[in-house]
């Protein structure tokens, strides 16, 4: 059994990209994504990864180049954050409809203004409707593992979609954690070479990106929606296959002490580890609290969420992004909408916290658990910890 080594999470993501024998990396530097692409540049410069590293002049060109390279049959990776993802926006919406698989690591960071380099989920949430598969990692091992899984899912001929692998900027991307680096032979067993069913090929010429008028635009959107929903089966399959090779089983939705919990906090990303500590402490004082974490955000894992919440009386949904002018954050809106027609009807409120790198503490969760446990429902989301 291999021993975990201490490694910065960004570097572990880059190591996964190397283990995937990626062909093309096109990237533009932006904090806090930089360590991923710096390490990839080193790996290419040292000959450890035989890839073309395209040092593009913007994120817009990064994603454009990625679409070109993947369409030409190359395993393709890029990484970005915040404004970089915002600049990619136009391409982010085009890629899933062209069915071009790309793996994008996002070191999640707040969107301007004010300009802020620290962590929240406003970058990815602003492109949540685009048709990408969205995964959220909790810790370093998961970041590495999900990067490998992302390639397999994206390139699965039944999926052929881009995948974003989200890690919290700084609070996960820049932490040094104990991480198991898989053996190359194991990775090769899990991740077959990229063989697109259709690509830019001089022997079998196809046209990609034709004009779609009113008679087929709706159909193109419906097809992309169907493919995205259907991808969940392939994601679950990839998780199971990953377990067979590496002995680590992932689920699209994780629970922690939630089976008998009366009050549940639902969230995504690395703050789950802080929340678990709060759960443990509250459990010690006899409170029936638990945690549900979404590893998969798109497609939205409806059935798994309902199962995880089936016994909950009270629910607090956490968002790391505020939908300005709306009653809830994006996760809050989605969960409330799901519960509307379900037999499961916990008292549900939505809490916004950890914006722009504001620390998320155990006390924040204790406050939320206490408030949610009262059974009181707030129709509007609550911004937690706002200074008066």
């Amino acid at each position: 059994m291999a021993k975990p080594i201490g490694m910065e999470v960004s570097l572990a993501v880059a190591e996964a990209v190397k283990l995937a024998n990626t062909d093309v990396v096109a990237a533009y530097p932006i904090t806090p994504q930089t360590h991923i692409v710096e390490h990839l540049s080193e790996l290419v410069a040292d000959g450890e990864l035989d890839a073309a590293y395209i040092p593009v002049e913007s994120e817009h060109s990064a994603m454009s180049s990625c679409i070109g390279s993947s369409a030409a049959g190359a395993r393709t990776f890029t990484a970005t954050s915040s404004q970089g993802l915002a600049l990619m926006n136009e391409m982010i919406y085009i890629d899933p409809i062209l069915r071009v698989p790309i793996v994008l690591a996002i070191a999640n960071r707040a969107l301007s203004a004010p300009i802020n380099i620290w962590n929240d989920h406003s970058d990815i949430m602003s492109v949540r409707d685009a048709g990408w598969i969205c995964l959220f990692a909790e810790n370093g091992q998961e970041a590495l593992d999900l990067t490998l899984i992302a390639f397999r899912v994206a390139e699965d001929p039944q999926v052929s979609l881009p995948v974003s692998m989200n890690i919290d900027g700084f609070t996960l991307s820049h932490f040094i954690e104990p991480i198991l680096i898989p053996e190359q032979a194991e990775v090769d067993k899990f991740l077959p070479p990229f063989k697109p069913s259709l690509q830019l090929d001089i022997k079998n010429p196809i046209s990609i990106g034709l004009l779609g008028g009113p008679e087929c635009y709706t159909e193109s959107r419906k097809a992309a929606d169907d493919v995205l929903w259907n991808s969940k089966a392939q994601i679950v399959k990839a998780f199971d296959e990953f377990n067979k090779v590496f002995g680590r089983q992932y689920q699209v939705v994780e629970g922690y002490r939630h089976e008998d919990a009366e009050t549940i906090v639902l969230l995504m990303g690395s703050i789950a580890e802080t929340a678990m500590t709060a759960v443990d402490e509250l459990r010690q004082s006899g409170q029936k609290v638990g945690l549900v974490r979404l590893r998969l955000w798109r497609p939205f894992p409806e059935a798994e969420i309902l199962t995880a919440l089936s016994k909950a009386k009270n629910l607090a949904v956490i968002d790391r992004h505020a939908v300005l002018g709306s009653s809830s954050g994006p996760v809050g809106l989605e969960v409330k909408s799901l519960l509307l027609n379900s037999p499961v009807k916990p008292n549900t409120s939505n809490y916004i916290l950890g914006l722009g790198g504001r620390d998320v503490t155990r006390d924040d969760f204790k406050y939320i658990f206490e408030k949610a446990s009262s059974g009181q429902v707030q129709t509007r989301c609550e911004f937690v910890g706002v200074y008066e």
């Binding site: 093309v24 913007s58 060109s61 070109g68 030409a72 190359a74």
Partner: protein, 320 residues
Amino acid sequence: MRAVDATYEKVTNKTFPKGPDMLASGHRACQGCGEVLALRLLLKALGTEFIAVSATGCMEVCTGPFPQSAWRMPWIHVAFENAAAVASGVEAATHVLRRKGRGYDQRIPVIAIAGDGGTADIGLQALSGALERYHENFIYVCLDNEAYMNTGIQRSSETPFMASTTTSPVGSKSKGQYTWKKDMPAIAAAHHIPYVATATPAYHLDLMNKVRRAAAIEGPAYIHVYSPCPTGWRMKPELAVEICRLAVSTRIFPLYEVLDGRYQISRKVDNPSPIADYFKVQGRFRHLKEDDIAIITQRVNGDYKRLVELTEKFPVEAAE
């Protein structure tokens, strides 16, 4: 590799490529479109084994309403401003897959095609990045019809001085476009790439040979093609080829090459045709007065003189 040393099979009237066009007939280009004529010729020059990338624009819209496509080679269109970036990715992929033993046996030219707006305005950043990065099998062609024709004849930075467009209209306080045409070939040449050229479909062999040379060179190439738009220029469709000849013979659009930073004129114009002949057949210039034409003539002759001086100061070196 020096551009001047690249060898290629010259297209002549006798060796003109036979077989079907790589751009199929039946597309929706306007009658007398000079741009689609240039496109068909330049694709024909490339043979059959290449990959094409289009920017959004007339040539993309008129050739590909789903499920039809006029493109007989592998082709991709993604958006307006990023043809150079998409082509960068395609080029990098073909390059690295070949190195890793999963690609083609030979170099595959990747040609990016965009209009003047997609090149000189919104696509300039992506183009500059691609030229600077020195992609080996990268040809960029700007099909310049001197305005945003696809959206309805709005001015671009390639619209000539005093041309009337829907966003540079003539009025009581306006003589049309108030800026001079952006010198895109000079901007491309400033990236010190091996090859820059100008061309027009009226001189079809010249155009095709420039494309062949671009494909033969290991390094990025930029070709700026004067492409008449009878619809947008308010001109009779049958004059598209004639206006190309006039653009060259009046020195308005000189044909030249920049090989390894050294200049050579493809068609010398010692005695220019009367420039008024160029303006009088185009509705976009019908408001021009003699004084206006004099200003333009002075500028055109000055630019041409400068080009001649460049060929004298920096003549193309001999091939090995």
